[in-house]
């Protein structure tokens, strides 16, 4: 068992379970309080019209030191891009440049209130116009709304735009077609937009089955949603035939922009015949994922659809000043405010730092790195699709499962012992024991080689000592969890009355 590591490289050694923050400190402990009151205060309950609180909420009472130690301990049990390689397919876990973090914290950005007069927010509005223009150029779709808060929100917003456009033509439709490889947010957004989701099978190459698509298309179809490059990392060579078929029945073609990193400066969804798309600023444009968010999911649409975009939108006036305005036939708001402005600042910084050539090099390096990993690993693992992939590829742990009973989940967990975050696993569903690997352009060759070496080693372990892999991970702060128990008996909060 010397093969087991004591702790995961890139992470601090586990120090056992951590107390909850509620269990720290004492009723007398203080960190930050309001300044001494400089106005009269008689009875709060009276001021609140008798709606004053009878029993105080149970919140922690801790010192600043206790807070820092608590969260430093929690941080040591977390793995981020800064800890090590994070080849999570379709999530584009690239490095988050630090100057972008500094920029969004500048008081001139962070201190702005959404209702302050436009003349006091000219720099912010100029930045939003600049980002909108850049996204229009990159996507090849001229109408941009920065409003949506995340990719799924962008999908839903674009479907709402499609619905409004169909309705304006007096032709409201009922269905949206998606391939069986679509991200789960696609069908969920379809339902939220009041459409029926129609799933069509993929062809043998993992691409769109053009015959199946044509068979499903009729004049009740509002849209077809497609990720291109798709979730197996392939650019669909039939893309023009696909969008043409969609348009032939009067439907719109939607591009899920999760995989935009692969084609920056190389090809544009607008030129492929897509009518609308969302862009994940927290993937392609390097803004951090924050442990699950915040993201930002701007949408880009054709000229025909631009009047329906959600607003308000930043605009540049003829005198060179900036303001906010509403598209003529807007669907309305999809949230409060103007979008996740703090995320936009980071993305804008990324775009202007890289410029036209830099962005194109991102795609080139991302695609080269993915192909490099694919070539190096295809002798050890089954790689069902090829020959050339885009920014990511899918391989299968099927061979290992057949030969030794070691599953992809086991190999993913074993990767943790070596300081790598696992790839996306068991997606797309059409590949048995799928591993979807996206290295991104920011990983150096040394990291790619180290990943290859560890994957090959794990495959060897699977053959020689399957139980070792099946029992992994050994070195992480906690080991495999009882997930079924968590769902059967949900414990979703600390209970102040029992202290548990």
């Amino acid at each position: 068992m010397t093969e087991k590591l004591t702790h995961t490289p890139g992470m601090a050694p586990a120090r056992g379970p951590r107390e909850l923050i509620f269990e720290l400190g004492s009723p007398e402990s203080r960190c930050v309080e309001a300044a001494p009151l400089d106005v009269p205060l008689t009875s709060v309950d009276e001021m609140l019209g008798g709606y004053g609180r009878k029993v105080a909420p149970v919140l922690p009472n801790v010192t600043e030191l206790e807070i820092m130690r608590h969260y430093t301990h929690l941080a040591s049990m977390n793995f981020g891009v800064d800890s090590g390689m994070y080849p999570l397919g379709s999530c584009t876990m690239k490095y988050n440049p630090r100057i972008n973090e500094d920029a969004c914290r500048l008081p001139g950005f962070a201190g702005l209130h959404p209702y302050q007069p436009e003349e006091t927010a000219q720099g912010a509005l100029e930045l939003m116009v600049g980002l909108s223009d850049a996204l229009a150029e990159i996507s090849g779709l001229p109408g941009v709304s920065l409003q949506p808060a995340a990719g799924a929100h962008g999908e839903l917003s674009t479907l709402m735009v499609f619905r409004a456009a169909h309705t304006a033509k007096g032709d409201p439709r009922k269905k949206v077609i998606i391939p069986d490889t679509a991200h789960g947010t696609n069908p969920a957004s379809v339902t939220m937009c009041g459409y029926e989701a129609i799933t069509i099978p993929s062809n043998e190459q993992g691409g769109v089955d053009l015959d199946a698509l044509k068979a499903a298309l009729d004049t009740d179809v509002a849209a077809f949603m497609l990720t291109n490059p798709n979730t197996v990392g392939l650019f669909d060579e039939n893309i023009l035939a696909i969008t043409e078929a969609v348009h032939a029945v009067g439907a719109y073609a939607y591009c899920d922009g999760a995989n935009l990193n692969a084609i920056l400066g190389k090809a544009r969804p607008g030129d492929m015949g897509f009518d609308g798309m969302h862009i994940n600023l927290h993937k392609t444009f390097s803004t951090p994922h924050g442990g699950g968010g915040p993201g930002s999911g701007p949408i880009c649409v054709s000229d025909e659809l631009a009047p329906f975009l959600p607003g308000p939108l930043p605009v540049e006036f003829e005198d060179g000043s900036f303001g906010l305005g509403w598209p003529e036939s807007t669907i309305g708001r999809v949230r409060a405010g103007y979008g996740n402005f703090g995320v936009m600042v980071r993305a804008y910084a990324y775009v202007i730092a890289l410029g036209a050539e830099g962005l194109t090099e991102v795609a080139e390096q991302a695609v080269l790195s993915a192909n490099y990993l694919k070539v190096r690993l295809q002798g050890t693992f089954d790689v069902p699709y090829g020959p050339t992939c885009m920014h990511e590829f899918v391989m299968s742990g099927g061979k290992q499962k057949r030969e030794s009973g070691v599953r992809t989940l086991d190999m993913a967990k074993r990767l943790l012992d070596f300081g790598f975050h696992p790839p996306t696993i068991y997606f797309p569903h059409l590949v048995d024991e799928a591993m979807m690997i996206e290295p991104t352009e920011t990983e150096p060759l040394e990291a790619l080689d180290a990943f290859v070496a560890v994957m090959i080693r794990i495959a060897a372990e699977a053959a020689s000592d399957p139980e070792l892999v099946k029992g992994s991970p050994y070195s992480t702060p906690v080991r495999r969890l009882d997930e079924a128990g968590a769902a059967r008996n949900p414990d979703l909060r600390w209970n102040p009355s029992t202290g548990e």
Partner: protein, 443 residues
């Protein structure tokens, strides 16, 4: 790498893209910048703004200038938190997972509800998700929304309703700055309302009679969805005590910068009986194979990556880092500090209201109880007053007429054009408020 892959230049890998859709000539964008140039350009843009935090601001309406303890940004800037993805691999995500569990516990403590999710995009989308969830629970699709709910949130609700499966019932009237209870009762009499959606304190600052609204909603078989202010919940009786079924709100005030309106976070809490209809992620406590306590994303069968078109919501990314900021904020101010901040804000708001009324330039359109936000009618032209006060360094509240331009508030327009909503946080001082009242008086 090129040799291993078998191409001469990396551009060859893009030959799989049909020629007809290849972008020839590259992107029409400027050339890149060095970090020093980038820094200078970004600072120039930031410096051309005059942020609320550098002025004396009485702006609120969902986005508040509360003090942010220094420790908050130090914690959320730890790269293990902000460079991590969604905690799908719990063995290496215990930091994120435990912090979310603690966040959920704090939101439950504030709202009085049984369970909280891991966060949503903002208050507006959390409110819409509340209405959608009520529709699933009651198997009805009509929503009765008070016109005193934040107009931008109403606008958002209607956008979702227009595109989806909800129908918005006729609005009740605004009476004395609050939701008209007789109108609510009359609308609910149809017996097919899924959710009664209210905000308290409402957009105008007034505290609604949640007990009566809950009674009316429940008699009609509807759920009560309440949008609340998380700072005030430190001293305000929690919505759960009045019978709310779903409590939502904008959580920006908890340790997040205003950032021109985003990202903040939407909080969302409900009763445990309805937890399997709840949208969004949720973290639960469990054990690992060695019996150690641990945390994990749970009840995933509600979510889009498992349930696809049958999911309770399409939400995937949420606002985890903002929720972490909210947790650190609540830990930093603590039980006593939160009450102190809320009390100070309320006391100062009442002080400013009295001072403004004393100028003779303002009148009160109604008498409602309020927290730290209130509405007054200005005798003259609100836009001119705003401009004049900005010259003196004051952001003199939110003009209801400006908001009306986007969404009708349901008020008589002759009254609405004079109304201003003022917010006063604990950051404002008595000298600032006295100076403001004095300047307004001299207009």
């Amino acid at each position: 790498m090129l040799r291993a892959v078998g191409v001469a230049i990396s551009d060859d890998l893009f030959d799989v893209i049909p020629k007809a859709v290849r972008l020839e000539g590259g992107l029409n964008l400027p050339q890149g910048l060095t970090e020093i140039e980038l820094d200078s350009q970004l600072r120039a843009l930031a410096d051309s703004n005059e942020p609320a935090t550098s002025l004396v601001s009485f702006l609120g309406a969902g986005c508040y200038d509360h003090y942010i303890p220094s420790v908050v940004d130090h914690v959320i800037s730890k790269p293990e938190f902000f460079t991590a993805y969604t905690p799908y691999q719990p063995e290496v995500s215990q930091g994120t997972l435990q912090s979310i569990y603690e966040y959920q516990s704090m939101i439950c403590a504030l709202t009085g509800m049984d369970v909280s999710n891991a966060s949503m995009y903002d208050g507006a989308t959390a409110l819409v998700e509340g209405a959608l969830m009520a529709a699933r629970v009651t198997k009805r699709h009509r929503v009765l929304c008070s016109p005193t709910v934040h107009p931008e949130w109403q606008n958002t609700l209607v956008t979702y309703a227009d595109a989806g499966t909800l129908e918005i019932a006729d609005y009740p009237a605004v009476e004395g700055g609050l939701t008209s209870l007789p109108d609510v009762a009359a609308q609910l009499a149809s017996g097919d309302i899924a959710a009664l959606v209210v905000q308290s304190p409402n957009f105008f600052g007034g505290l609604e009679d949640l007990g009566e609204l809950a009674r009316l909603a429940h008699e009609a078989g509807a759920l009560l969805v309440v949008a609340s202010n998380p700072i005030l919940l430190g001293i305000l009786e929690p919505p759960a005590s009045f019978g709310a079924d779903i409590v939502v709100g904008e959580g920006q005030a908890l340790g997040n910068p205003m950032s021109y309106g985003g990202p903040g976070l939407g909080f969302f809490a409900c009763r445990s009986a309805h937890v399997r209809q709840m949208p969004g992620r949720v973290v639960g406590r469990t054990t690992d194979v060695d019996g150690n306590g641990a945390f994990v994303l749970t009840l995933a069968t509600r979510e889009q990556h498992i349930r696809r078109e049958k999911a309770t919501s399409n939400i995937c990314s949420n606002h985890a880092l903002n929720a972490l900021a909210a947790s650190v904020y609540l830990a930093a101010v603590g039980q006593n500090g939160l009450a102190g901040i809320a009390r100070a804000s309320v006391a100062k708001a009442h002080y400013l209201r009295d001072a403004l009324l004393a100028t003779g330039k303002f009148t009160s359109p109604w008498e409602t109880s309020f927290g730290y936000e209130f509405t007054l009618a200005y005798e003259g032209d609100v836009a001119a007053m705003h401009t004049a006060m900005l010259d003196h360094g004051f952001l003199a509240g939110v003009s209801v007429a400006d908001v009306e331009a986007e969404w009708p508030t349901g008020l008589d327009s002759a009254l609405a054009e004079h109304l201003v909503v003022f917010a006063v946080t604990e950051k404002r001082t008595r000298p600032e408020m006295d100076a403001f009242a004095q300047e307004v008086a001299s207009l």
